[in-house]
Structure formats: structure tokens, C-alpha cells
């Protein structure tokens, strides 16, 4: 397993991943990169749905 990947996991706080887990992490990250390549950049903020915020005491 390459050190770069292990460093990346450590930087994310994932320092309990075993070699097997790191291999899964690598496959997951590679799969996500494929999805990110299709993601359009610069979609205007007007396209963002309103977030729901509830004041304290109002939340269920």
C-alpha cells in the first residue's frame, strides 16, 4: 500500500484503517473521481435549494 494513500487517510483522521481497509479506501476514492469528472463546475448559486434551519427549541 503506498504511503501517500496512508498519509491521506491519516490526514482525514482515518488512522485505524488496516491494509484491507486502505485498499477499499483507494477503490472508493478512484470510483468517486470518476463521478467528479462528470460534475459540472460553476452551476449558479441560484440553483441551490434552500437549506432548512430550525431555531433551538423548534427542532423535533
Amino acid at each position: 500500500m503506498n504511503e501517500e494513500l496512508r498519509d491521506k487517510a491519516r490526514a482525514l483522521g482515518l488512522d485505524r484503517l488496516t491494509e484491507e481497509h486502505l485498499a477499499q479506501f483507494e477503490r472508493a476514492a478512484t470510483g468517486m473521481e470518476r463521478h467528479l469528472r462528470r460534475l459540472p463546475r460553476g452551476v449558479p448559486v441560484a440553483q441551490e435549494p434552500a437549506h432548512v434551519y430550525r431555531a433551538k427549541g423548534e427542532a423535533p
Binding site: L14, A29, M32
Partner: protein, 368 residues
């Protein structure tokens, strides 16, 4: 218990219970015995609740006997996927992470089933944390200011005159569907057209766009839920769930927000394509079902599906059996409706099921 009783449909069983030809206690007792007989092999249940079920069945029988029939779910046995809370029972999400995590209140669906007089048999197995797919549900009746439509109102009316779009590019050009699956979908479209449905092909954005948008949102939101557990107890996840959840670890906030914005654009494009339609038909899985113990086929087939688009847009989808492959495993089709358009889906599905009879074929291993 006869096989006929085991495969009773909901409406049929409800009518037998209402007219007191079927006792809820006998029905529940027989189903529990059947679960006991088969479940050591199939492991469909994570937890059985026989005492609770028999108490509820007795109460239903007493009420119905006294003329206080609440409706079609009264005395009706059901089971819940183990991601749905039932007060006082563990909701494990089929994961070691939540083993023994007792729910403090009912989920909305549980409340409604209880109020309707349903009889809970137990909690069912699921993909760990149901990470097989996201559940955005922006239009569910619990969160929208709209009355719940009568989804059963048009059942039995046939399909003549309905307008159904065929999203064929999902399973022919975006992804090459298995020939037997494509053949089954083409046959379904032909059957509907022959019954007086107006069918026409429609074009949506590429299936891969929906997959990318949905997977980015799902991975980011799921990681926000699981981050601490993945840091502290990664070994307590199954391999598949752990890999899918780790996919969110490296996503940036800007990626997530771009995907959330893109989602509205995709939703609007689909809404335009659906403007003059009652529903649409497309593939669910691209392949015939594979054996659950075939790891290689599972890994290859898992992502070859077209359900993500309508999780992204928040439209209702209904997947039903569409025949069998040469190897005897099920094929499927997916019907998609407008938000709150479930009634059209039930209407089409009922017609299709009755016309084909696929649902009357049962797995040989479950015959009494």
C-alpha cells in the same frame, strides 16, 4: 399452512379478514411457523417478534369481531426493514455499529401502520445501513404540505388512454443492458401499446450524469453520518458498506454543493420531459438477478441500474417482475411517475401483473 395462504395478496387477505373468513390470529400463527421453517436458510429476519405479533393479532380479532374494522391493514401481518424505528425494539441497520440500539419512538410509517391495526412480525435484513441507494424523498407526504392522494383510486381501471414515456437510452446506449433484460422491456412496452397506451420514447440526460450527481450527494451525506464510526470502529462495518462509505471521505464541500445545485437542473429537465406524460417505463437493473453468493457477478452488476435518476429527482418509482431469464432468475422493469403520482404506477403495475401472471410464479425452495 397451504402455499395459497402464504402467497395471499394484501387486498385478498384484507377482504377475508374483514368478512371474518380468516382469523388474524390463525394467519399470524401460520406465517410465524412458516418463517421459523424457512428462515434458518434465508435469513430474511433480523429479529422476530412473535409475542408482540400474537398480542396485536388477538386485539385485532377482538375489535373486528366487535364490528370495529379499521380498514385493510387491520389484523394484517407485516415486517419492517431494519432501518425503520419501532419504539422499544433495536434498529440495527443490519450493522454491528448499531447492535442493541433501541428506538425511543416510532418512525412515521410505523405509527401509521400501528394506527391502521397492522401486526408487526419482526425486523428484516437489509444492505448494511441500506447503503445500496440514497433516499432523498423530497416529496414524501410526511414532509410536504399536500394532502396524501388516494393512491388506489384508479386501480382496476385498465391502461387505455394513458401516455407512457419509454426511457430506452438508459438501457441501450447509455449502458448496454443484458439482451434478455432489453427483450423483456421491449415486450412490456409492446404489451402496453397493444392495450391502448400511447407510448413514445423520451430522452433524459445520460444515466451516468444522474449516477454521478446522486453518488456525490449520497457519499457526502452518508460520510457526515458515519465519520466518527469510520474513524473509531472501521472494523465493525462489512466490507461493502465500509468501501461505499469511505467514498465520501475525500469529497470537498464545493463538490457537494455543486452536486446539490446540479440536482435541481436535472430535476427540471426530467420534469420537462414528463410534461405530457402520465408515467414512464425504463429498466431497474440492467441484468437478470444473479446469485447472492456470486461475489464477482454482484460486484459487476451492482452499479448497473437505473434507479438512481429518480432518487435524484425525488420521483416515485415502482419496480416489478418482468419475467425470468433462461437461468430462471427474475427480470424486472421500473415504472416512474410524477411527484405524488403513485396512483398511475399502481394502475399500470396492476394491469401488467394481471396480463402477464409473472407474480404467480414462486421460488421452488419456498413451496410448502
Amino acid at each position: 399452512m397451504s402455499g395459497d395462504l402464504a402467497y395471499l395478496g394484501l387486498a385478498e387477505a384484507a377482504e377475508l379478514i374483514r368478512t371474518k373468513k380468516l382469523s388474524p390470529v390463525e394467519y399470524v400463527t401460520a406465517l410465524l411457523a412458516r418463517v421459523e421453517r424457512y428462515d434458518a436458510k434465508y435469513n430474511a429476519f433480523i429479529a422476530l417478534t412473535p409475542e408482540r405479533a400474537l398480542t396485536a393479532a388477538r386485539a385485532a380479532e377482538t375489535e373486528i369481531g366487535a364490528g370495529r374494522w379499521r380498514g385493510p391493514f387491520h389484523g394484517m401481518p407485516y415486517a419492517l426493514k431494519d432501518i425503520i424505528d419501532v419504539k422499544g425494539l433495536a434498529t440495527t441497520a443490519h450493522s454491528k455499529i448499531l447492535k442493541g440500539d433501541i428506538a425511543r419512538r416510532h418512525a412515521v410509517v410505523t405509527e401509521r401502520l400501528e394506527a391502521a391495526g397492522g401486526v408487526l412480525l419482526g425486523k428484516l435484513s437489509t444492505h448494511e445501513f441500506a447503503i445500496g441507494g440514497p433516499s432523498f424523498d423530497p416529496g414524501d407526504p410526511g414532509s410536504a404540505d399536500e394532502p396524501v392522494p388516494d393512491y388506489g383510486a384508479t386501480r382496476g381501471q385498465g391502461v387505455r388512454g394513458l401516455r407512457i414515456g419509454v426511457i430506452r437510452h438508459f438501457y441501450t446506449s447509455d449502458v448496454a443492458g443484458h439482451p434478455e433484460q432489453v427483450e423483456a422491456l421491449d415486450a412490456a412496452v409492446k404489451l402496453l401499446a397493444g392495450a391502448g397506451v400511447e407510448t413514445r420514447e423520451i430522452t433524459l440526460p445520460a444515466l451516468q450524469d444522474f449516477s454521478a450527481c446522486g453518488q456525490i450527494i449520497l457519499a457526502a451525506e452518508a460520510y457526515a453520518v458515519h465519520e466518527q464510526w469510520l474513524k473509531e470502529r472501521p472494523h465493525d462495518y462489512g466490507a461493502r458498506a465500509r468501501e461505499r462509505l469511505l467514498a465520501g471521505a475525500t469529497l470537498r464541500a464545493v463538490d457537494y454543493l455543486q452536486a446539490v445545485r446540479w440536482r435541481l437542473q436535472l430535476r427540471d429537465r426530467v420534469a420537462s420531459a414528463f410534461a405530457n406524460l402520465d408515467a414512464a417505463i425504463t429498466a431497474s437493473s440492467m441484468d437478470p438477478a444473479c446469485r447472492v453468493d456470486d461475489d464477482e457477478a454482484l460486484a459487476a452488476n451492482y452499479w448497473r441500474q437505473a434507479r438512481m435518476p429518480f432518487n435524484v429527482t425525488g420521483q416515485p418509482g415502482l419496480v416489478i417482475p418482468a419475467g425470468f431469464s433462461k437461468s430462471g432468475l427474475p427480470l424486472s422493469l421500473q415504472l416512474v411517475g410524477h411527484p405524488f403520482g403513485e396512483a398511475a404506477l399502481y394502475r399500470i403495475a396492476q394491469f401488467y401483473e394481471e396480463a402477464t401472471g409473472w407474480t404467480k410464479r414462486h421460488p421452488p425452495g419456498l413451496s410448502d
